[in-house]
Structure formats: C-alpha cells, structure tokens
C-alpha cells in the first residue's frame, strides 16, 4: 500500500532543504558572481564537488561528521539529547550539503547575468547597497533563484544514496519515499512500489510545473513599478 508517512518525510525534507539552503546559496552565489577573492577557484570546485562525488562517499563523510566522535555530533547530542546521525535533522543537513551545487550554480549564473552598469547606475541614483540588492539584483536574478529552488527540491525528492547512508530508514523520521520504494521492491511488493513510484512521479512533475510557472510570472511580468 501507499506509504504516506514516507511521502510526508520526503516533502518536508524537500521544503526544509530549500529553506535552509536558499539564503546561503544567494549569499555565496552572489559573492562568486560579483567579487574577486583569493581562493575563489577552490570555493567553486568545492561547490561542484557533490555533483561528481558518489553519494555513498559523501554519505560516509557526513556520517562520520555526524557521529559522536565529532564536535558536531557531540554538540547536537548535548543540546537535544539524541544523535544527529539517523535523525531528520541530520538528514536535512546532509540533504542541504548534497544540494549545494544545484542551488549555488544557477543563482551564481543569475547574478552574473546582471550587467555591471545597472548596479553602478543604481548607486549613482542614490540607492544604498542593500536597496540595490533588494530592488535591482534580486528581481533580475530571480530566474536563477527559481531554477535553484526547483532543482534542489526535485533533487531532494529523488536523493537515495546519501539518505540511506546518513538516515537509514526509520519510519516517520528518515524513511523517505525513495527509500520506501526500494524497501517494497526488496520485499517483492511490486504493487506498493508501483503505486508509490507513480505518486512520487506526479508530485515531482507537479512541483516542477508549479515553480516553473511561478518563476516565469515573476521573472517576466514582475511588479510594474
């Protein structure tokens, strides 16, 4: 039968990943687009790393970092009284890290596409750097930001390797729809696996269409004044 709990975990994970990642990706993407700084090449390579690293390798390192032996894992345990590994919070953090390239790169491209003289014009018109960011850069980089949102969300729904390594498959906590499908197939329950796959397919498609539409509307017609 359909595992609604697993689907709920997946959706929450997707939304949480986007919310956690977006502010960071906007800050980093903008910096990479506009400023020259030492170690820029290294940062760009690090951002792209999750794209080429096998999910199991990434998962392994994250699992080590979340364990009781690390300051992160120990700190979380001290604060909340439970382990970061095999928890929803740990999964969220892992998912955010695995999605860095999907969020940062489109946003960096979005900011890069803004002609430098538009920002200069805004400055000569008396706008402060913050006003320039809010009124000129954000609206013009919006297509990139929307793409980053869609990609991170969709990629989170489909993530398997990292989730399995870091989260295991604890029902209601870390068992996502993708993992539930794998479990069903392992149990020769093809019917349940088929239903869940179809549901996930529809959810992914609908969310993609939804955000795509949204990005088009804001990007093209935007606020008029």
């Amino acid at each position: 039968m359909m595992d609604w709990t697993a689907l709920g975990v997946s959706l929450w994970l997707g939304v949480g990943t986007v919310l956690l990642l977006l502010p960071l990706a906007i800050w980093l993407g903008r910096r990479l687009a506009f400023s020259q700084f030492a170690g820029r090449g290294f940062v760009e390579a690090a951002v792209a790393l999750p794209l080429v690293l096998p999910p199991t390798v990434l998962g392994f390192y994250l699992l080590s970092a979340f364990g009781m032996g690390s300051w992160l894992g120990a700190g979380f345990q001290a604060l909340f009284g439970r382990t970061l590994a095999f928890s929803f919070e740990g999964l969220l953090l892992a998912s955010a890290i695995a999605n860095v390239p999907f969020a940062v790169q489109p946003i960096q491209n979005g900011f890069s596409a803004i002609p430098a003289n538009l920002r200069e014009a805004a400055a000569t018109m008396g706008m402060t750097p913050w006003q320039i960011f809010r009124r000129i850069e954000l609206p013009l980089a919006w297509p990139g930001i929307a793409t980053a949102t869609v990609l991170s969300f969709a990629h989170t729904l489909g993530e398997f390797g990292v989730v399995l390594m870091v989260g295991g498959a604890i029902p209601g906590e870390t068992r996502t729809a993708a993992i539930a499908i794998y479990d069903r197939v392992q149990a020769f329950d093809d019917r349940a696996a088929g239903i869940m796959s179809a549901v996930l397919l529809v959810v992914c498609l609908v969310s993609l269409l939804l955000v795509q539409r949204l990005s088009k509307r804001v990007g093209r017609a935007g606020p008029r004044v």
Binding site: A121, T124, M125
Partner: protein, 366 residues
Amino acid sequence: MSDHGLSLRLQSASPIALDLEMSCAPGELIAIVGPSGAGKSTTLRAIAGLYQPQQGLVRCAGQTWLDTSTRLALPAHLRRVGLVFQDYALFPHMTALGNLLAAMGHVPSKERVPRALKLLERVHLSGLEERRPAELSGGQQQRVAVARALARDPAVLLLDEPFSAVDRATRRRLQAELATLRQSLAIPMVLVTHDLDEAVALADRMVLMHRGRGLQTAAPAEMLLRPASAEVARLLDLRNVFTGTVISHAADRTLLRWQDQVLEAAPAPGFAIGQLVDWLIGAGGILLHRRGRPSLGERENPVTGCVLALLPLGEEIRVQLDIGDTAGGTLSFTLPRHVVQRNGLQLGEECTVSLLRDSLHVMGRP
C-alpha cells in the same frame, strides 16, 4: 575655483593613467573629447565615485567628494550625480516611470510620482510612462536615461557618449533637445564624446584628453583655431601643420622662416627669436589665387605647389598640394567643385595660394 561648480584634479599611474585638472561652472557644459582609451569615461566614473584614482580631489557644489590626501572618498550613492550611461543602463524590470522613481529616494513619497511625470513630460515621453525599456525605441530610452539622471536632483550632470547608440537622425534630434534642456539647468554638465562636431555644437568649453592626460582646455572654436600643440592639432584632425623658425616679432605679426621663405604669422610674442616652432594654417585661411587675374590678399604669404590629389567629397573637392616641405608635409584644403573646374586645377598642375596671416598660428614644440 567656483565653490558651486565642479572642480577636479585626478592623478593615477595605473591601472589607468590619468593626469587631468578641470573645473566646470554651474550652467556650463564642458565636453571631454579625445580618441578611444583617452580616459574620458574613467574621468566621469571618478567624478561619480565608480572609479577611485590613486590621487585626486573632486569637489562639487561646495562639498568634497574625493580627497585622497585626507583619505576621503564618498561612496557613489552619497554623491549627488546624474549619470547618463552610454547604453543608458535602464532597469529592464521597471517601467519608464519606475526607473525615475528609483532615483527619487530623497523626495517625499507623495511628491515622487507627480515630479517623475513632469520630468517625463519635459523629455517628451508623456503617455509612455508605463512602458518598459524593451518596449521603447533607442531615442526614447535615451530620454528616459536623461530624465532619470535629472530625477536625482543632481549637483552635476554627467553624460557618457549619450548619443552614440542611436541613428543619425535621432542623434540630431536628441542633441537639439539637450541644447534646449541645458538652458534650464543651473548645474555643471560634463559631456564625454569622441565626436568633435558634437562637442563643438553643444559645449561651452572643451577638454582634449589623450592617454589619460588633459592636453588643452578651451572654447571649441578657440581650440580649433589655436591648438596648443601639433599633437592637439593632430587629435583635432587639423591638417596643415609645418615646422619653422621664429625670425622676429612686430606688434601685429610674427615673422617665421619656413623652407627658404619668410611667412607672416599672427603675433606670437611668447616664442624666442631663433626658436624652432610648429605652425598651423587654419581651414579658412587658405586663399586660392585665380589664374591670370590678381586676387585679393595675393601678396600675403604666397605659397606655390603642385596638385598632388583631388578628392571629391560631395559638392566639395579636397585639394592636396605638394609645397616642397622638406619634412614631407602637404597642404590640403577644400574648394567648391565649380571653383576647381573654373580654375582648371588638375593633377600635376602648379597652383598658388595665400596663407592669411591671421589664420597662421604658431605653436610650441615639445
């Protein structure tokens, strides 16, 4: 220097060489001219606060915007400048009205829209307020850019090649509009252009820049008649520069030796007897002698040469004479087509002209 106008002194060795001093009074329009890469736009950017020279002083309307000696450098958004960019830099996601409103942060919010509408009316854009830049023609975009620069209530108006991106007919119209508009503006205006005709038509004074250096500042007509050096003359596309020696000075003339001939020049008492100088004969100062009939002013600096080239330029013909200058200089001037025909000027023929003394200008050599 006037306290209400703009005054600046810029000096930089790298990355862009700059060495310029200029001032501009309220209501005055100064054109910075010079070839590409002369540092014209960089100068504007330094005034606006978009470029920081190694050393410099920029003062405007009694306020110091840049003083490297006291490490003062006001950021761009705190300088009251109206800058019209070469490609206008309009915000594509805002309407024409929105572009203006974005520059009016200093105006009480209730007054913004009426004032912006008034400005758009002033640049003949009424009815197009709600259009986005992409929905406007090049000329209309330029007008939005000018109105937006004024919407800031600037203390100085800076125009960076504002007519270069439109076709010829539109350019003429926009230039005429600017000439009208400037009459109502009581602020210094600085126009950067590589088009000398544009500078002559619009500017009160002209600053000629080359390789970051200000070579001469003068009224356009004055600079064309009396360039400071042969280099200035060359940059202004003035031909007919030769080299001679000062022989003597009188109250109304200076005598020069050029080749084996003595020439009378406009008085140039600043040069020592025997000094090697460059001299220029202005375009209006070359008079053709008619064949077989004495002409007016015939005895004034007669120079005989051989017709080297006849280049038709529409209704005029550019005549190039080989006048035996040992440095290889030739004399060129334009004549109406019918004058060339009537006088039977042909390649290889001999021809005599007079160089009018008042147009013969003496310049120092570096």
